[in-house]
């Protein structure tokens, strides 16, 4: 693992997608036109291959030397001076370690498949849609941003990537900017993320205030020693405050309660974008950040408790809403929220490696599901609501087969990828607190149910499609990524599954000092047979029960859901309206703030200006009074002269 090689890898991973994006954007309208995907496909492919090389480098590194900090250049002078009295800078620098490597592989790998898939998806009847080159340029920029986020070696670069993925999601969600809903969704995504960023930025400021540095290594070192930058002992409240502020950012980006509201609306973007946002980039950033800042979080039990509770609550919350939605992509969106909840929960119970494992497997099956849904949408001419079609398994055999694989993996069907990672998380949650574990199990049951509800509604039952739609299976550019992802969804779990545990061992140097040390159980070594396999059996059984229940309700006895809906209308409506969170925010925050804005304008126009009018009225009033004296009548002047002389005389004589 020589620094030179790592430096080159980092540069390639960052620049290849960026250059691709710039080329697509610049040359797309004039030269490439419907070939505008090539620069981005090539760029992301280079990034992926380099990531694999990088991962091999890290894996091949000797023990204890798996982490390297590679400086690139001086970025921002922050006024302080270093030990030698020279100006200190926030640098542009990479941190390369197993966590970075695994994230880069996931990000670039899934992104590559998504980019390939988009080549056909962004065409109608073989013709590139309006804004084709723009789409690919933004995809390239998105990959660049996410890689920058993951590669950055200090909090400021993390923030850079953090904001940049927010921007790219804004641009891509609003890709169909002519549709007001898309424009609104894009803005919402950016703003909700900014609310999280507000906390995140304050967290970074507090880190700098406390430690005098923003470089990961230096900060984490001080945290583990319990010291501040000036050598004083670090107070528990301070580290809790830092952790919670950072977590605020993670809530925004990884769509945790209460900042989850942007993610379902983000479905307004084209399906490949959804796949990218939900699987590889964007939402995983929050998970990555908490895992990266493990030292900070693990140092504060309070913060860890908050993280675990928020994660568990989000998992259940998302799954419950997904039960009743009818838009396939929206169901998947709530499912993402729920699965992200699992990951956050895992970190909260000191199982960050399990969280990353779940992130890894989830990337495969969630990308697969979104691309599958995109395939359905493509075939249905843009309609994705399961109330409008059904029985598609015959006409879309490839899509159906891969979609089922993805659904099984998401449901946690035994021996598929989602099963291993989710089971691990539930195991840790149970060990930490029974309630958390039970919520995890319950969510697993719901997950299996709503996933297969969607599958049965869309692909089973009598064949019906909307008027004027002639569904057809997609071309090879779209099918190939689906197949590759299916393989991943089937097999990715074995990378981390018990027995091999390769992923965990790979990640261990990153988490050993922070999470693993504090974890009450360490799964690979200590779990007894029944303690562990018992749970595996239970969670596998729950998944099968959920699937069977969905089969019963939506295939065998389709009248039952209607009855349920009628018997509990209020609960149904609450779920349908997503617990009214949007309405609550609108009424409690947006409207009052807008009123505040109008008040400010009014104050400007009448209050401040009125006051100034009053002040300027004083000279005017004086002038008005004096003006009456200037009447031009000689008698008046004479009179006042006499009166003046009289007064003066009086004064003189008196004194």
């Amino acid at each position: 693992m020589s620094d030179q090689v790592l430096y080159t890898c980092g540069v390639l991973i960052l620049l290849a997608p960026l250059v691709g994006a710039v080329l697509s954007g610049a040359l797309g309208p004039v030269l490439l036109r419907s070939r505008a995907h090539w620069p981005v496909v090539a760029g992301v492919a280079v990034a992926f291959i380099t990531s694999v090389v990088l991962c091999a480098q890290v894996a091949g590194a000797p023990e204890g030397a798996t982490s390297a900090l590679i400086p690139v250049y001086d970025w921002i002078a922050h006024g302080a001076q270093d030990a030698k009295g020279a100006t200190a800078y926030f640098k542009v620098e990479y941190l390369i370690d197993p966590l970075t490597a695994i994230m880069l592989m996931t990000v670039t790998g899934v992104s590559l498949l998504v980019v390939i898939y988009s080549r056909d998806y962004m065409r109608e009847h073989g013709k590139a849609v309006h804004g084709y080159e723009r789409f690919f340029a933004f995809l390239g920029l998105f990959v660049f941003s996410m890689c920058a986020l993951v590669l950055g070696g200090n909090f400021l670069l993390l923030y850079l990537g953090w904001e940049a993925v927010g921007l790219c999601s804004y641009l891509l969600i609003g890709f169909h900017y002519g549709r007001p809903a898309a424009a609104a969704a894009a803005k919402k995504a950016f703003l909700v993320n900014r609310i999280g960023d507000f906390g995140f930025a304050l967290g970074i400021l507090l880190i700098y205030l406390t430690f005098g540095s923003l470089e990961y290594g230096a900060v984490f070192e001080m945290v583990s020693q319990g010291l501040t930058g000036s050598g004083d002992p670090l107070s528990g409240d301070r580290i809790t405050a830092i952790a919670l502020l950072l977590f605020c950012g993670a809530c925004g980006k990884s769509a945790q309660l209460p900042l989850h509201v942007w993610l379902p609306d983000a479905m307004e973007g084209p399906s490949p974008v959804s796949a990218l946002i939900h699987a590889a980039t964007m939402v995983t950033a929050g998970i990555y950040m908490i895992a990266r800042c493990g030292a900070i979080f693990a140092a504060s039990p309070t913060a860890m408790m908050v993280v675990a509770v928020v994660g568990a609550a989000t998992a259940l919350f998302g799954a419950s809403i997904a039960l009743v939605q009818t838009d396939m992509k929206r169901i998947l969106a709530y499912s993402t929220i729920s699965q992200l909840g699992y990951m956050v929960l895992a970190i909260g119970v000191y199982a960050a490696d399990s969280a990353i494992f779940h992130l890894f497997t989830h990337a495969f099956f969630k990308a697969l599901l979104f691309l599958g849904a995109g395939s359905v949408m493509h075939a249905m001419g843009g309609i994705i609501d399961v109330r409008h079609f059904g029985g598609l398994r015959k006409v879309l055999p490839w899509t159906f087969a891969t979609f089922v694989i993805g659904s099984l993996a998401l449901s946690g069907f035994p021996m598929l990828s989602g099963f291993f990672s989710k089971d691990e998380i539930i195991h840790h949650a149970l060990a930490a607190h029974p309630v958390l574990g039970v919520i995890g199990l319950l969510t697993a049951l719901l997950t299996a149910f709503y996933t297969f509800r969607m599958v049965f509604l869309a692909f089973h039952g009598p064949y019906r499609v909307p008027e004027g739609v002639h569904p057809h299976e997609s071309g090879i550019w779209m099918r190939a990524p689906l197949l590759v992802l299916s393989v991943g969804a089937l097999a990715a779990g074995y990378l981390g599954a018990e027995g091999t545990g390769a992923l965990h061992r790979f990640l261990e140097p990153v988490f050993a000092d922070t999470f693993v040390r504090n974890n009450p159980i360490h799964i690979v070594e200590h779990a007894g047979f029944w303690a562990h396999y018992g749970l595996m059996i239970v969670s596998g059984a729950l998944a099968i029960v959920g699937i069977l229940a969905a089969y019963l309700l939506y295939v065998r006895e389709p009248w039952i859901p209607g009855l349920l809906k009628a018997s509990a209308p209020r609960a149904y409506r609450t779920l349908w309206n997503k617990y009214y969170v949007d309405e609550l925010y609108d009424g409690a925050i947006v409207k009052p703030a807008q009123r505040g804005g109008r008040f400010c304008v009014g104050l400007d126009d009448y209050g401040v200006d009125g006051l100034i009018w009053v002040v300027t009225a004083i000279p005017r009033a004086v002038a008005y009074l004096l003006r009456t004296a200037q009447s031009g009548l000689l008698q008046g002047y004479a009179l006042s002269m006499v009166a003046g002389i009289a007064i003066i005389l009086l004064l003189v004589l008196w004194a």
């Binding site: 922050h78 006024g79 002519g178 007001p180 507000f198 205030l209 005098g212 304008v601 126009d605």
Partner: protein, 619 residues
């Protein structure tokens, strides 16, 4: 050449403007071309000055604070008087210009924006073309004069002079309410700067009572303030007097109400220069004059100013959110941004001041560009109402690209310029109470950063609202538009793209690699803005007195007889000399600034500070 270069930069536009007024009068097209030529010439010379500045900068260390490229022509009024055997003019007023790391970049900013502003009016200004460009060029001279001034009187003259061209620019070429806007602008800013002038006069008078001769040399006045020779009470009042003029110019809440109106009514070039450069005169005044000259009062009043700045950030952002007029929205965003700038300056930290100055540059670029874009829209649609426009991204992709780009720059997206300034300001505010940078602990703290950081959310709220309403959704255009009768195309023309592209490139460059700017800002900040580490407040005046007399004795002991005072300014004992400030020779920099080295500051020690003891008496 070296010493004349700033003078040439300052007066090229003036000469150009005068030449425009002289016969032979060309037609409108040739007037436009010549105006553009003069402004480009100024830009070229200012870039040369920047280059010269960098050549001189390495020798310029913290220990030897110097202004570079100085040029001095004394008035030589008053008779020469004898102070300690040196002949000094009794009235030390001069045409005196020079730059440091802060002002050189502001000069470049002003000279960069002016040709672009001139270019932006090529189609829209059709009446009284000659006067229009003359006024713009005169305005540029005024602005450059302020940034380069080393003499307080020259500073003030230029500061006031800028009002006149802008008054006419708004009043003649403005929108429907131009008269009211021009009057309001003029009266507001004049009212404030009259107080500033009172402060200037008193300061000059006070320098006479302290030093024995009257000086308006900014360097010497700073030494006076930094040396602790301005009593706290006096500092307090002078700070307020100076702030009256500067705060209105910034504009600081609650005296900002002239700005939205003036911006909205001004022609595009006027708005660009107003937002891009003119507002910076206020913040520049604070950081060049108020903070270094009145350090104790600044420290004491900083929390008040910071609170006003934070109120301004939030208040203006909320107001911007509900605007119905695009230009007014951008104008209110200016108020909000300048709040950040003030907050950074009054964190009294190196990072804050250099961040604040960078914020000035950034705001000039991004808000200037936004005003340009609003102008381009107005030229086509003759309206600036959100309600009458929408979905412009489809017919105008270039416009959409630039609008989103500058929006992102304005809301501080990392990788673009806005972020660097904003982050440094917040960082300095949060860490104001620490001493990591070798400067005394500042008066602010983390609690100030929390409400200020709300600006991160709010700026995105109103700017994205603007983008959404203007660019996205279905196409909405007023009937009969876009108006292409003046030769404009539907999307931006090449000229317009050519105006915006350089600004965009600057934004990107500063965002990715701000080092060249920040390095010079930092040096200048340490040299000229926040110089002395010892905190001075009313409470520790006693200890201060002891420090002073101690350092006085120290420096005096190390000094040769009076005739040899020049030796004092070797770097090693520079610090102690700085502490006693006016008690010894300050400005001897024979090697670099031969013109300025003739006189030196001497102190007629006030009785309260040790009777008639003078440097040299003890030896």
């Amino acid at each position: 050449m070296e010493s004349w270069i700033l003078t040439i930069v300052i007066f090229t536009p003036l000469v150009g403007g005068v030449l425009l007024m002289l016969p032979p009068y060309g037609n409108n097209a040739s007037v436009r071309r010549s105006a553009l030529f003069y402004s480009l010439l100024t830009l070229g010379i200012s870039l040369l000055a920047l280059f010269k500045f960098y050549e001189g900068a390495p020798a310029n260390s913290y220990d030897d604070p110097a202004y570079l490229l100085t040029h001095r022509a004394p008035w030589n009024t008053g008779e020469l008087i004898d102070i300690d055997g040196l002949a000094v003019p009794s009235i030390d007023i001069a045409y005196h210009v020079g730059v440091d790391g802060i002002s050189i970049w502001l000069v470049v900013l002003a000279t960069l924006l002016m040709p672009l502003a001139i270019l932006s009016g090529f189609r829209s200004i059709r009446t009284r073309v000659r006067e229009y460009y003359c006024l713009l060029l005169f305005l540029e001279t005024g602005l450059l004069g302020v940034f380069c001034a080393m003499d307080l009187l020259f500073f003030y003259v230029c500061f006031e002079f800028t009002l006149i061209p802008l008054y006419f620019l708004i009043g003649i070429w403005g929108g429907s309410e131009r008269r009211r806007a021009a009057n309001k602008f003029f009266i507001f800013t004049l009212a404030g700067s009259v107080l500033t002038f009172a402060g200037v006069l008193y300061l000059a008078y006070y320098s006479y009572t302290t030093l024995g001769y009257l000086t308006l040399n900014i360097e010497k006045l700073i030494e006076l303030g930094q040396g602790g020779f301005l009593p706290y009470n006096l500092q307090w009042w002078l700070f307020l007097a100076f702030a009256a003029g500067f705060a209105i110019k910034v504009p600081l809440f609650p005296v900002h109400t002239w700005l939205p109106l003036a911006h909205t009514e001004a022609p595009t070039a006027g708005s660009v220069i107003l937002a891009g450069v003119l507002l910076k005169l206020g913040t520049y005044g604070f950081c060049r004059l108020s903070i270094p000259m009145f350090p104790d009062a600044s420290r004491e009043l900083a929390p008040t100013i910071a609170v006003l700045a934070i109120i301004g950030i939030i208040y203006a952002a909320l107001a911007a959110w509900v605007q119905k007029d695009i230009k007014k929205l951008v104008a209110y965003s200016s108020v909000s941004h300048l709040g950040f700038c003030m907050l950074g300056l009054f964190s009294l930290k190196v990072a804050g001041v250099s961040g604040g100055v960078l914020y000035m540059v950034n705001h000039g670029l991004s808000t200037g560009a936004l005003f340009l874009i609003v102008g381009f829209i107005y030229e086509r649609y003759h309206t600036r109402k959100f309600a009458e426009l929408g979905g412009l991204a489809r017919p105008m992709p270039w416009l959409a690209f630039f609008l989103i780009f500058f929006t992102l720059s304005s809301i501080g997206l990392p990788g673009l310029n806005g972020f660097v300034g904003e982050f440094l300001v917040l960082l300095a505010t949060a860490t104001s109470a620490t001493t990591d940078d070798g400067i005394a602990a500042g008066p602010l703290g983390y609690a100030y950063a929390i409400p200020a950081a709300l600006g991160i959310i709010l700026s995105a709220v109103y700017m994205l609202r603007m983008c959404q309403r203007l660019l996205f959704g279905s196409l909405v255009e007023p009937a009969g538009t876009p108006d292409t009768s003046t030769g404009l195309s539907k999307d931006l023309t090449r000229r317009e793209i050519g105006i915006l592209t350089p600004i965009a490139l600057c934004c990107l460059a500063i965002g990715v690699y701000p080092k060249p700017l920040l390095d010079t800002f930092e040096v200048a900040t340490r040299q000229h803005v926040l110089r002395h580490p010892a905190p001075r407040t009313r409470t520790d005046a006693g200890t201060l007195e002891q420090q002073r007399s101690a350092s006085l004795r120290r420096s005096v002991a190390s000094t040769a007889p009076a005739g040899d005072l020049n030796k004092l300014s070797t770097p090693t004992n520079r610090a102690s000399v700085g502490l006693i400030g006016a008690s010894a020779l300050i400005s001897a920099r024979e090697d670099r600034t031969p013109n300025a080295s003739a006189e030196s500051i001497r102190v007629k020690q006030p009785a309260s500070r040790g009777g008639d003891r003078r440097p040299g008496d003890d030896t």
